[in-house]
């Protein structure tokens, strides 16, 4: 992602620090994660301390400062999913991929993340890969789900 694109995003939000979250979200959508040099650039352009930008980038769960895999697996750990066995589903995914929550596989195919509720509780336990929903998951469905990618 080049600085011209960042400039365009910044302009779309009127160069205002109040839109920092939206700006960072848009950058992450394009760049897959939040690269350091872009965060420094954003801080400089908005005229705010870099520490403030880093505070946002590390506070919210949606942001990643590390490159992520081509597919992001989000396992919902909301209450409804929890009581229906979400932890076992997560453990199975971890075991299948050999990574822990928050990590990326060596081949950069998958990044595994957990979310504290995706708001689709009737589908629980729920796993979302990129934008595809896998509802009513259980441990035996995991290998098949991963084979889709």
């Amino acid at each position: 992602m080049d600085f011209d694109r960042v400039d365009k995003i910044l302009k779309a939000y009127g160069m205002k620090e109040t839109h920092l979250v939206s700006i960072l979200l848009d950058i992450q959508t394009e760049a897959n994660f939040l690269p350091r040099e872009i965060l420094s650039y954003v801080a400089k352009k908005l005229g705010i301390p870099l520490s403030q930008v880093c505070r946002f980038a590390t506070f919210y769960k949606a942001f990643s400062l590390k490159p992520r895999g081509r597919h992001v697996i989000k396992t919902c750990l909301g209450t409804a999913c929890h009581v229906r066995g979400a932890v076992k589903v997560l453990q199975t995914i971890e075991r299948e991929l050999g990574i822990r929550d928050g990590d990326t596989t060596r081949d950069f195919k998958f990044t595994l993340e957990t979310v504290n509720c995706l708001g689709a509780c009737a589908l629980g336990p729920l796993v979302v890969i990129d934008n595809d929903y896998y509802g009513q998951m259980n441990t035996t469905k995991v290998p098949k789900m991963l084979k889709d990618y």
């Binding site: 839109h19 909301g78 504290n116």
Partner: protein, 616 residues
Amino acid sequence: MRIADESGLKELKNSVLQERDSLRPCITICGGTGCHGYACEKVIAAVENEIERQNLKDKVSMRVTGCHGFCERGPIVVIYPEKVFYQRVAVDDVPEIISQTIINSKIIERLLYTDPNTGVKPVHEDDVPFYNRQKRIIFGNNGKIEPTNISDYIALDGYGALCKALFHMTPDQIIEEVNKSKLRGRGGAGFSTSKKWAITRASKKGMKFIICNCDEGDPGAYMDRSLMEGNPHLVLEGMIIGAYAIGAHEGYIYIRNEYPLAVRNVGIAIKQAEELGLLGKNILNSGFNFTITVHKAAGAFVCGEETALISSIEGKLDGPRPRPPFPAQKGLWGKPTNINNVETLANVPLIIERGADWYSKIGTEKSKGTKIFSLVGKVNNTGLVEVPMGMTLREVVFDIGGGIPKGKNFKAVQTGGPSGGCIPESLIDLPVDFERLTEVGSMMGSGGMIVMDENTCMVDVAKYFLGFLDDESCGKCVPCREGIEKMREILTNICKGEGEEGDIELLEEIALTVKETSLCGLGQTASNPVLTTIKYFRDEYEEHIRNKRCPAGVCLDLISYSIDAEKCNGCGACVRPCPTQAITGEKKKLHSLDQEKCIKCGACFETCKFDSIIIK
């Protein structure tokens, strides 16, 4: 094309209605997130194709609506005008629906919902037990409109309340009407909406703001999402009326980025409302200006807290701030700011249009109107239900929810998200309203209702919530940051079988400190899951601590899997899913499970069709 005034809106409504033939069949397909999870977009495409293929464009129309609430049975298709209710519709069913139901008016039996308790198959949506016990005054229109089409909303008298407010009422009259309706905030503590508005209105300083809080973070609750996705104009209308009442000209909608469909739909709705002059400068030529900006949230439960939300919009993020000063006095950029939850605002147009007298007839003495609950967890009919305040838990869980799956026993209901508590079976006849829930140690919260059965371990539930809060605490104040972590450590030990005598008392002591001394609502209510589970399920804690046993069979370190020699018929189905090859045995002979190798993942338990895997 701007609408000039009140009569202009009426004309628009009439012209929309004239264009439509109310008797013409209309296939509505639920496009909510729940149904998306069941691939409803494929059904939508199939219906489009089939209408095209059979050349029925003039005879039947189609509408992709917001969430119908009955997410368990998605994808849901309802055919108007008769409201034929089909559930679990697959792509292959579509040609039949068109050729049978639309053309020949024949009902397809297999797509109807079957009541598991009576075996009855109701044909019409209103006869489905899940719906007919509800009172869907807020949520009902979700199934009737296409959220991205403002005409649909206007056809149902949309923005009529705004006209009434702008042209026939003063701001004080609006606040008085809301006051008479006794509307209380639907996002958490249940503070009086009119009082909040009155304080913000009374602040004399120039700029004021109104914020719509759609950072629905309570795990297990998704009514705000469904309202924003399914009927965004209703929320906008409520927000504009609120802004007019308090004298704000700028508004913000703070919405979770995890809700992409809601972000999209509210963005479209704002644009449409602006084009028609229902939002922006000089609304309906009344002289009132109001603009709305959408702010995305990026996943932080604490930002649902008003002051943290404000600091996030300011681009500062210094966490929750000490109160007083309250946002109504000193909020966004130091200006008086009113923050309302999505569902609260969705109630406003209704109160204005139909009057406080009508509204306040619904509900209990101190809690008026209806409440949308997300009925989820171990319950047959999961989904969103809207019921009058004061309905008992039993009615919600058993009559609407259809009871517990697989004939298991009901154990508890958890309400109020991580700030709430667990209500045991002995209180199942509790009427649900703000006061009653608080009395039993829980709270209304945003309306999550998670049903738990005999296989749910209450210590594990308490540990789960503390894990959630430990993850979501901003870390600013000591009791919340350190206290929650300590409680979590103790609970983890108990679940591992390393609990000691005195742990329960220590938990209670920490819980009280966190409750009484934390900076914001997150910490002040964080102890509720612990305190209520200790209060109602103390024996379960003691069983873990003294006998190192998990009665519900959940805590991994305290359970073991084994094979029931009488039930196992040696089918071998469990052998392959076992990731550690712990199960061995010849075909058609009793299998055995090696405890050394077993990692208790539960794969065999899920696979076995003969209940021969036992958890102890």
